[in-house]
């Protein structure tokens, strides 16, 4: 990073001081190929914002097609069944990788992890920049799949072979599928770079006094998420390489003897289940990669706006560690239908249900934090409470699906779609919204509009429940997922009004997101100026100016004396004590 202009040791030294103090002045180095973790965080945020609109548009097309299968839509025209599968694949891939993985970790983690631990930047700024731009390339490649011959792939975000491993299985399975796998592989590399940086930064760059048990729960959540990413993405990368070889080099890792369109392929001896094992060894931790940062933000916001210390800080940390640890041992619950041994299924089932314990600890601790709190119902708080609500509603169907006997009838029905959308999709998105409304003042120096924020919350909260709760009922009624057109199936006729209701709810919920975007961009330029600590919060990011200077603390290094959530402190001058305030008395 430093001394690039070189020419002698003195210049080397000077340029390092410059990096520590002032931002580079050129537009390209300041805003495009920036080494500043704050700029990179905002870049990640806007990449995720772009991706979420693409993903949301695809979901709207699917919802319209489900109730009006013969509609002639603008841009896409009459949807073919295979186009529906392409939309489904791209919706899932974009949302999981480029929204749920990118925004909470790459976006907010990048921006706030160094500031919250009192560091001037990430441990490896160049790697950080590379990580973002690699993610960007991965996104461009993925979107390019729409525009190549045959279009986007059909194999779903889980990419199960044989569909994904043979070029001739469908229109999108040619170049489109190759682009998809390449994009995922590049995304893996980017995530690994990010994970490495997050872990090193947390372990090595904490300010004086910032012990591990004084770290905000947000930092803990990003840290644990990074560990999960470090261990999971390498395995997905290995699976992706094997899949590319099966597709293009004629190997048979995942392909048995197979006949496609009446033609015998040259493969033999491989196993599609091998892919499922490798994929879900990554895939299940990925669920926690998406949700853990949301848990961190919810904890932070609930404590701040209840004016109470977080209930059971240590229990929260250990619960997150337990969730991360158990997350690596439950991948088999995605494969109960694969014909696995009932003994294996039993083990996976038991371990999966064990995750209910740390999850319940977290939930009760959040409720304990709210209990008798002097609650301030600002928008971030509403979204944090919404997160808890969705986490419970989406999480409770988990133990249902964790049991093989229940999973067998419910698998491949809308019950699963409802479950994972609530817990992984919407709950994580609520975490992202809570983070956006909470940290926007620090990031952009202005406040977001509260009225618009509250309207956005209520429409989104009710809207997402209206979309995803009925899916559980559909699933129990036997409505299969992934099919493009079921309006003509007799036993599903009574469910059409419910599907119609969900589509209308989707229209309204997506409409509500315009309120968010208008609020975001309007506030960025026209919102009232924010104070350094507008929420009376305690963590280190609120001690520095708004927005923070290039080196975060203007040449100072903060010294931390207190825990992260000292609210409602008896005898203190204010009702909160910041982490950098003088140490609280021994009596407290």
């Amino acid at each position: 990073m430093a001394g690039r202009t070189g020419g002698g040791e003195t210049i080397m030294a000077t340029s390092e001081v410059v990096h520590a103090h002032a931002a580079p002045q050129g537009f390209i180095r300041k805003y495009v190929f920036s080494l500043d973790h704050k700029v990179i965080g905002i870049q990640y945020f806007f990449l995720a914002l772009t991706a979420v609109w693409v993903g949301m548009f695809l979901s709207l097309l699917m919802r319209i097609h489900l109730i009006w299968p013969n509609a002639n839509l603008p841009i896409v025209g009459h949807l073919q069944p295979e186009t529906y599968l392409s939309l489904l694949t791209m919706h899932g891939t974009i949302m999981v990788f480029f929204v749920l993985t990118t925004a909470p970790q790459g976006g907010f983690g990048n921006y706030f992890l160094p500031i919250q631990i009192g560091a001037p930047d990430m441990a490896f700024p160049v790697l950080n920049m590379l990580s973002f731009w690699t993610t960007f390339v991965a996104f461009v490649l993925l979107i390019a799949a729409f525009f190549v011959t045959g279009g986007a792939p059909l194999h779903g975000w889980t990419g199960y072979p044989p569909l994904s491993a043979v070029q001739s299985t469908g229109p999108g399975e040619g170049l489109g599928a190759d682009l998809w796998i390449t994009s995922i592989a590049i995304f893996c590399a980017a995530s690994l770079m990010g994970a490495l940086n997050f872990i090193t930064t947390t372990l090595d760059l904490r300010a004086k006094g910032m012990t591990l048990m004084r770290m905000p729960l947000t930092v803990w959540s990003w840290f644990i998420t990074a560990i999960l990413g470090l261990l999971a993405f390498g395995v997905l990368l290995s699976a992706g390489i094997l899949l590319l070889m099966d597709r293009n080099l004629g190997t048979s890792f995942f392909l048995p003897v197979i006949v496609v369109n009446g033609q015998l392929m040259g493969h033999k001896g491989g196993s599609p289940l091998l892919w499922q094992h490798l994929f879900w060894f990554f895939g299940h931790p990925e669920v926690y990669i998406a949700i853990l940062p949301g848990m961190g933000v919810a904890s932070q916001v609930l404590s701040s706006f209840s004016r109470k210390p977080i209930f059971g800080y240590r229990a929260m940390v250990y619960a997150m560690l337990a969730i991360g640890f158990l997350g690596f041992m439950v991948w088999g619950h995605h494969m109960f239908m694969s014909g696995m041994s009932p003994y294996s299924a039993f083990a996976f089932s038991l371990l999966t249900m064990a995750i209910g314990v740390p999850s319940a600890i977290k939930t009760f601790n959040w409720l304990g934090t709210l209990y008798k709190g002097r609650i301030r119902f600002y928008t971030p708080m509403l979204f944090a409470i919404g997160f808890v609500s969705l986490f419970v509603s989406g999480g409770l169907s988990g133990p249902f699906l964790a049991q093989p006997t229940l999973d067998i009838p419910l698998h491949d029905t809308y019950f699963v779609v409802g479950h994972f959308h609530l817990i992984m999709g919407v709950a994580a998105i609520f975490g992202i919204f809570a983070a956006t409304y909470y940290w926007f003042p620090k990031m952009f120096g202005r406040m977001m509009n509260e009225g618009l924020g509250k309207a956005h919350f209520w429409l989104t909260f009710i809207g997402t429940y209206a979309i995803f709760m009925p899916m559980h009922y559909l699933g129990m009624a036997g409505h299969p997922r992934r099919y493009s057109q079921l309006t003509e199936v007799a036993y599903l006729h009574p469910l059409i009004p419910l599907q119609t209701f969900m589509t209308y709810a989707a229209f309204i919920t997506i409409g509500a997101q315009f309120i968010f975007v208008i609020n975001l961009f309007w506030s960025m330029f026209k919102g009232p100026k924010a104070a350094d600590n507008p929420w009376d919060a305690t963590t280190v990011e609120w001690t520095t100016s708004t927005p923070p200077p290039h080196d975060n603390f203007g040449g100072h290094t903060p010294v931390v004396n207190n825990g992260p959530y000292e609210y409602g402190v008896p005898g203190a001058a204010r009702d909160f004590v910041m982490q950098t305030d003088p140490k609280l008395g021994a009596t407290h």
Binding site: L196, L205, L236, L242, L249, G250, H277, L278, F281, G554
Partner: protein, 250 residues
């Protein structure tokens, strides 16, 4: 490095003691920097941080090979359906690897690891002596050490050339990437290892270029070479693992 650092003031601020309690490294009245932080010139700290980053990066590489290894073990045990006889059989055919050549390549790679270690130690010594050399009037004489780094690059490239030769021999024996699972895995493991090693070669060339062209201070060079060296040793270890794995499952 820190043991030889002088206690008196020197011209170059880089030469300060690497240990804790060093004065603030840039203006503004910072509070020292106990827990590890922004000591921009603290090369000892930067080295430790880079090593931590390397360990984590290697963890990711290990997980990649864990994925490959588990796929290999599962794939080897899988029966294949034979449509003609309507029975299942195993399609794993033992691959005839050119073991003699592979052994030579292994020796070359291990040798390069040794030269790399000498390069690492040489630069560590230079970095430790740098503060002494910066004292006006002090000269330790011109050192012309053996070009360990260059030797490592040449041996590394030699290893990759040897691996290409292995590929050619396999081709000549009609073992292609899609011949059977055993040859698929052999090509896969060889290629993935070679790509990672090539990354190491690029890092070494970068280190050399940085020292000659950008006149980076010797302590900064030392960090790059130290990281490259540990990465290189890991690559040698990984290669031995791959070879043993292929020997066992052949």
């Amino acid at each position: 490095m820190s043991t030889l650092a002088p206690n008196f003031a020197v011209k170059d601020p880089r030469a300060r003691d690497a240990g804790g309690g060093s004065p603030p490294t840039f203006g503004g009245g910072g509070n020292g920097n106990g827990g590890g932080g922004n000591g921009a010139f603290d090369y000892g700290e930067r080295l430790r941080r880079a090593r931590l980053g390397l360990v984590l990066g290697l963890t990711a590489v290990i997980m990649l090979f864990v994925g490959f290894t588990s796929a290999l073990l599962v794939r080897k045990g899988l029966p294949s359906f034979d449509a003609q006889t309507n029975t299942y059989s195993r399609d794993w055919v033992a691959i005839n690897l050119p073991w003699a050549l592979l052994l030579v390549n292994t020796v070359v790679l291990l040798l390069s690891s040794v030269t790399m270690e000498f390069a690492r130690r040489a630069i560590a010594r230079q970095a430790a002596l740098a503060p002494v050399k910066s004292i006006p009037g002090v000269s330790l004489g011109e050192e012309r050490g053996f070009p360990w780094l260059g030797s490592t690059v040449i041996l590394g490239l030699g290893f990759i050339a040897g691996q290409l030769l292995v590929w050619r021999i396999l081709h000549e024996h009609r073992f292609f990437v899609n011949t059977g699972p055993s040859s698929s895995f052999a090509y896969l493991l060889f290629a993935t290892h070679a790509v990672h090693l090539a990354g190491g070669v690029i890092a070494l060339i970068y280190a050399a270029a940085a020292s000659w062209l950008l006149h980076k201070p010797v302590e900064a060079q030392r960090i790059v070479i130290d990281i490259a060296a540990w990465y290189w040793h890991f690559m040698a270890l990984l290669w031995v693992y791959i070879l043993v794995l292929l020997m066992i499952v052949r």
